[in-house]
C-alpha cells in the first residue's frame, strides 16, 4: 500500500495548491490518459471506495465526467442533483452539510452556487471534498484539465501567454486558471468589457485589459468564457450583438495570436456570441480534447486522494 502526497486532501481550489501538487496531478493525469487510451475502464484502483457526487447547481458534463472517472477506477458512485429543489431556494449550508455527513462516503464532489461553500464544509467534516465549482470562486478541476490540455499541446506551461476573454467577473474558471497558471509560470492576460472585469484582479497575478485584441496579441492560448444571456438583462452589457462585435473571439482576432496558438473554451459555449462558429471547430480548437482530458484529470485526482490499494504503476 502506498499513499500519495495528496492522500486525504480536500481539493478546494488552486489558490491554495502548491506547484508540486499541481505537477503531481498533471503527471498522474497523463498516466490515466494513457490507460484510458488502451481501453482500461475496469480498473480496481479505488475498489471498495465510494464517491458521493452532490450538485446543487446545473451541470451535465462536469458531473458526468466525475461519474465516469470514479467508475473507471472501480469506485462506487452515488449522485445527487438538487437544483430546482428546496436547496436552490436557499437551504442552509448547515443542512446541506448534515445531509452529506450522513452519507459516509470516502470523498464528496460538490458543486454549489455559493462561493466558498466547499471551503466552509471542508472545515466542518473530515471526508475529503473536491470542489466541482463554487459560485464565482473556483473550478479547480476545470483549470487542471485546461492546464493539462495546454501541456499536451505546448509541452510546457512556464512562459506561455494565456489570454482569457469574456465575463471574468462571474467566472470561477477564470479565477482557477489565474491561480494555477501563474503558479506554473505562465503569463495570464484577462480581457472583456470593463463591466465584467472584477476590481483589483491584478492582485491575483493576472494582467487585465478591456481590449480583447491587445490581450490576444501574441498569445499561445486563447480561452473564451461563456457569456450568460442574463448579463444583458442585468445591464452589464447593452446587447449580445454588441458584445460579440467588440469582445467576441472570431477568426480575425484569433489570427492575432501566435500562429500555433490553441483555442479553448470550458463549454457550454454560446456559439456566435463569445466565440464564432467558424473557429469553434477549426484547426486551432482543442475544445473537444478538453472534455476527454477532463475524465483523465478527475481520475488522477480521485486516485491521488483516495488511492492506497493498487499502485497505478502496477497496472499493465
Amino acid at each position: 500500500m502506498r499513499q500519495t502526497a495528496l492522500h486525504g486532501y480536500d481539493i478546494l481550489g488552486l489558490r491554495g495548491m502548491s506547484k508540486n501538487n499541481i505537477d503531481l496531478i498533471l503527471h498522474t493525469a497523463a498516466k490515466m490518459k494513457a490507460l484510458l487510451q488502451r481501453g482500461k475502464k475496469d480498473m480496481e484502483l479505488l475498489s471498495g471506495k465510494s464517491v458521493a457526487i452532490v450538485f446543487y447547481e446545473n451541470s451535465t458534463r462536469t458531473r458526468l465526467s466525475f461519474e465516469l472517472a470514479a467508475k473507471y477506477l472501480g469506485a462506487h458512485v452515488v449522485s445527487m442533483s438538487e437544483q430546482g429543489s428546496s436547496v436552490a431556494k436557499g437551504e442552509s449550508l448547515e443542512d446541506t452539510l448534515d445531509t452529506i455527513a450522513m452519507m459516509a462516503a470516502d470523498a464528496i464532489v460538490i458543486r454549489h452556487s455559493h462561493s466558498g461553500a466547499p471551503t466552509v464544509m471542508a472545515s466542518k467534516i473530515d471526508v475529503p471534498i473536491i470542489n466541482a465549482g463554487d459560485g464565482m470562486n473556483e473550478h479547480p478541476t476545470q483549470a487542471l484539465l485546461d492546464m493539462y490540455t495546454m501541456l499536451e499541446y505546448k509541452g510546457r506551461l512556464d512562459g506561455l501567454k494565456v489570454a482569457i476573454i469574456g465575463d471574468i467577473y462571474h467566472s470561477r474558471v477564470a479565477r482557477s486558471n489565474i491561480w494555477g497558471l501563474t503558479k506554473m509560470g505562465a503569463q495570464v492576460v484577462v480581457a472583456g468589457p470593463p463591466t465584467l472585469l472584477p476590481k483589483d484582479i491584478e492582485a491575483m497575478g493576472a494582467q487585465v485589459s478591456s481590449d480583447v485584441e491587445y490581450a490576444i496579441k501574441g498569445a499561445d492560448v486563447v480561452m473564451g468564457l461563456r457569456m450568460q444571456r442574463e448579463r444583458q438583462s442585468a445591464g452589464l452589457v447593452p446587447s449580445l450583438a454588441e458584445y460579440t462585435r467588440y469582445f467576441g473571439i472570431n477568426a480575425q482576432r484569433l489570427a492575432m495570436a501566435k500562429g500555433d496558438a490553441i483555442l479553448m473554451h470550458p463549454r457550454p459555449a454560446n456559439i456566435g456570441v463569445e466565440i464564432s462558429a467558424d473557429i469553434i471547430n477549426g484547426p486551432q480548437s482543442v475544445i473537444s480534447r478538453q472534455v476527454t482530458n477532463g475524465v483523465a484529470v478527475r481520475m488522477a485526482l480521485l486516485y491521488l486522494i483516495l488511492g492506497g490499494g493498487d499502485d497505478i504503476e502496477d497496472i499493465d
Binding site: 442552509s92 449550508l93 448547515e94 455559493h114 466558498g116 466552509v120 479565477r175 476590481k199 484582479i201
Partner: protein
C-alpha cells in the same frame, strides 16, 4: 440601596471639563457628590482605583436592541446588560424594530420597557419616515415629545432625495439630528463584502465604496441647502471622510460617527468566508482604515459608535450569502479603541473618550457623558492595561457574532455605575439593584 460609593485614587479622565488627574470621586444617592484629592468619609462601598481610569459612563448613539420584534437576537434586558459590560450607561437604539419606532406609542413602549428592564439608560431614535418606507415623514414633534432623541431610517437610506430634504428641513423645528445610513441600494446590489481585491479573490460580489459615498455626498448637499442637523452614521470609506472634512470646512452642519471595526479591521477578515466579518457597510481596504484613523485624529470623525447589531446563530450561520449583516459590538468597543487608537498613540485617552462620551451626548442633546458634581452618577472604571482574549461565548449579549472572537485586546471595564448603582461590578453583571454584588 448603596447610598455612597467612594472611588479612590483613580485617573479621572473627563473630556467635557478637560480633566485628567489622579483623584477620588464620591457618589451619593445617585449623583456625583465630590471629585477631590483624598476624600474621607464613611462610604457603603469603596473601590481602590489606583492604576485604573475613572471615566464618564460611555454613550453609544447607535445600537440595535432588537426589541420589539427580534427578541431572539437581543432584548432591552440583555442588550442593556451587554452595554453595561462594555462600560456604556446611555445607549440610543435604532428604530428598525418590528414594528418600527415610528410613532409616539412605539417610543413610549420602548421607554416603558426600558424603565422596567434596562440596566442602563435607553434613548429611542425615531424613524424618519413612517414604517421606514421612505415615503412620508414620521411625526417628528410627537416622537420627540415621547422621548425620541434623533431620527433615522437606519438600515436604509431615504432613497428619495426630496423626502430626505424635507426631513432635514422639518427636523429643524424640533432641533433633532437626522442620522443618515448612507447606502445606494442600486450600487450595493447583492454585494456581500467590500468590492476590492479580497472580494475578487474569494469570488464574492462586492459592495463598492461608491454605494456609501454617493449618498454621503447627496446628504451633505441637502444639508448645505436645507439646513438641519445631519449626522452620518457608520462612516467606512476614505471618500466619505474626505467629503465630510470638506463639508465641515465649508461650515455645513454635519457630524459623523465611525465604528470600532472600521478603524481596526479590513476586508481581509472575510477570508475563509467568515460570516462574523459580514457587516454593513462592509469592512473596507487598508487605505480606508488609514483614512478613518486620520479622520478620528483630525476631528473630522466626531463619534465612535458601536452599531451593536446582535444576531442569533440561525441568522448568521456558516453561509456568507445568507448570513445577516452586523457585529455584536458593545462588549469590545472600548477595548478595540484602547488597543488600536490609544495604545498605538494615535489618540490621547482624553480625545478617544470624548468620542464615546460627551460628544455623542451633545449631538443627541442628552445630559450624559460627563463627570460633574451634581450630575447623575454614570461612571465606568477601566483597567486600560489589562489584556484578554475575546471569547464571544462569554458575551452577555445574545449576539455572539463578532470578528474579534479569539483576538487579544487591551483594556477591560471593571465597574459600570449607572445613576449611582452598580450595573457591572468587578467585571460581572450586577444582580438586582446592584447591592448584591458589593
Amino acid at each position: 440601596m448603596i447610598l455612597r460609593i467612594l472611588i479612590k485614587g483613580g485617573r479621572i479622565i473627563d473630556p467635557s471639563s478637560h480633566t485628567d488627574k489622579v483623584s477620588d470621586l464620591l457618589i451619593e444617592e445617585g449623583f456625583i457628590k465630590a471629585i477631590d484629592y483624598n476624600i474621607e468619609c464613611n462610604a457603603d462601598s469603596v473601590i481602590d482605583a489606583s492604576g485604573l481610569w475613572i471615566i464618564p459612563g460611555l454613550v453609544d448613539m447607535h445600537c440595535h436592541l432588537r426589541e420589539p420584534g427580534y427578541e431572539s437576537k437581543e432584548t432591552i434586558y440583555t442588550g442593556t446588560r451587554s452595554a453595561a459590560a462594555g462600560g456604556f450607561t446611555s445607549v440610543a437604539c435604532m428604530p428598525n424594530t418590528q414594528p418600527p419606532i415610528d410613532s409616539k406609542l412605539m417610543v413610549e413602549y420602548i421607554r416603558l420597557k426600558a424603565e422596567k428592564e434596562a440596566a442602563v439608560k435607553v434613548y429611542p431614535i425615531g424613524c424618519i419616515t413612517k414604517g421606514r418606507e421612505g415615503k412620508e415623514l414620521a411625526t417628528f414633534g410627537m416622537l420627540k415629545e415621547a422621548g425620541a432623541v434623533a431620527l433615522s431610517d437606519d438600515g436604509d437610506s431615504v432613497a428619495n432625495s426630496r423626502i430626505m430634504r424635507l426631513a432635514l428641513q422639518y427636523a429643524l423645528s424640533f432641533d433633532m439630528p437626522v442620522i443618515a445610513h448612507c447606502e445606494d441600494k442600486g450600487l450595493a446590489a447583492d454585494g456581500i463584502i467590500n468590492d476590492g481585491a479580497v472580494a475578487t479573490r474569494l469570488g464574492l460580489k462586492g459592495i463598492p465604496a461608491a454605494a456609501e459615498e454617493v449618498i454621503v455626498a447627496r446628504d451633505i448637499v441637502l444639508a448645505a441647502s436645507a439646513g438641519g442637523r445631519l449626522h452620518i452614521a457608520h462612516v467606512s470609506t476614505a471618500g466619505s471622510v474626505e467629503m465630510i472634512r470638506q463639508a465641515k470646512r465649508l461650515g455645513i452642519n454635519v457630524t459623523c460617527e465611525t465604528c470600532p471595526h472600521y478603524f481596526s479591521l479590513t476586508d481581509e477578515m472575510a477570508e475563509g468566508y467568515n460570516t462574523a466579518a459580514k457587516v454593513n457597510p462592509p469592512l473596507r481596504s487598508p487605505s480606508d482604515v488609514e483614512a478613518i484613523i486620520s479622520g478620528l485624529k483630525d476631528g473630522t470623525i466626531d463619534v465612535i459608535a458601536t452599531d451593536h447589531a446582535p444576531h442569533d446563530l440561525s441568522s448568521k450561520g456558516d453561509d456568507i450569502y445568507n448570513a445577516a449583516f452586523g457585529i455584536s459590538g458593545f462588549e469590545t468597543a472600548l477595548s478595540v479603541g484602547i488597543t488600536y487608537l490609544v495604545d498605538t498613540g494615535i489618540l490621547e485617552p482624553m480625545q478617544f473618550i470624548a468620542k464615546m462620551t460627551h460628544v455623542p451626548a451633545d449631538i443627541l442633546g442628552i445630559n450624559a457623558g460627563q463627570l460633574s458634581i451634581g450630575l447623575p452618577a454614570d461612571v465606568a472604571i477601566v483597567d486600560p492595561y489589562a489584556e484578554y482574549t475575546v471569547d464571544t461565548g462569554k458575551f452577555i449579549s445574545k449576539g455572539k457574532n463578532s470578528p474579534y472572537d479569539g483576538m487579544r485586546l487591551k483594556g477591560r471595564v471593571l465597574y459600570t455605575i449607572a445613576d449611582g448603582r452598580y450595573v457591572l461590578y468587578g467585571g460581572q453583571i450586577a444582580k438586582g439593584d446592584g447591592n448584591d454584588n458589593r
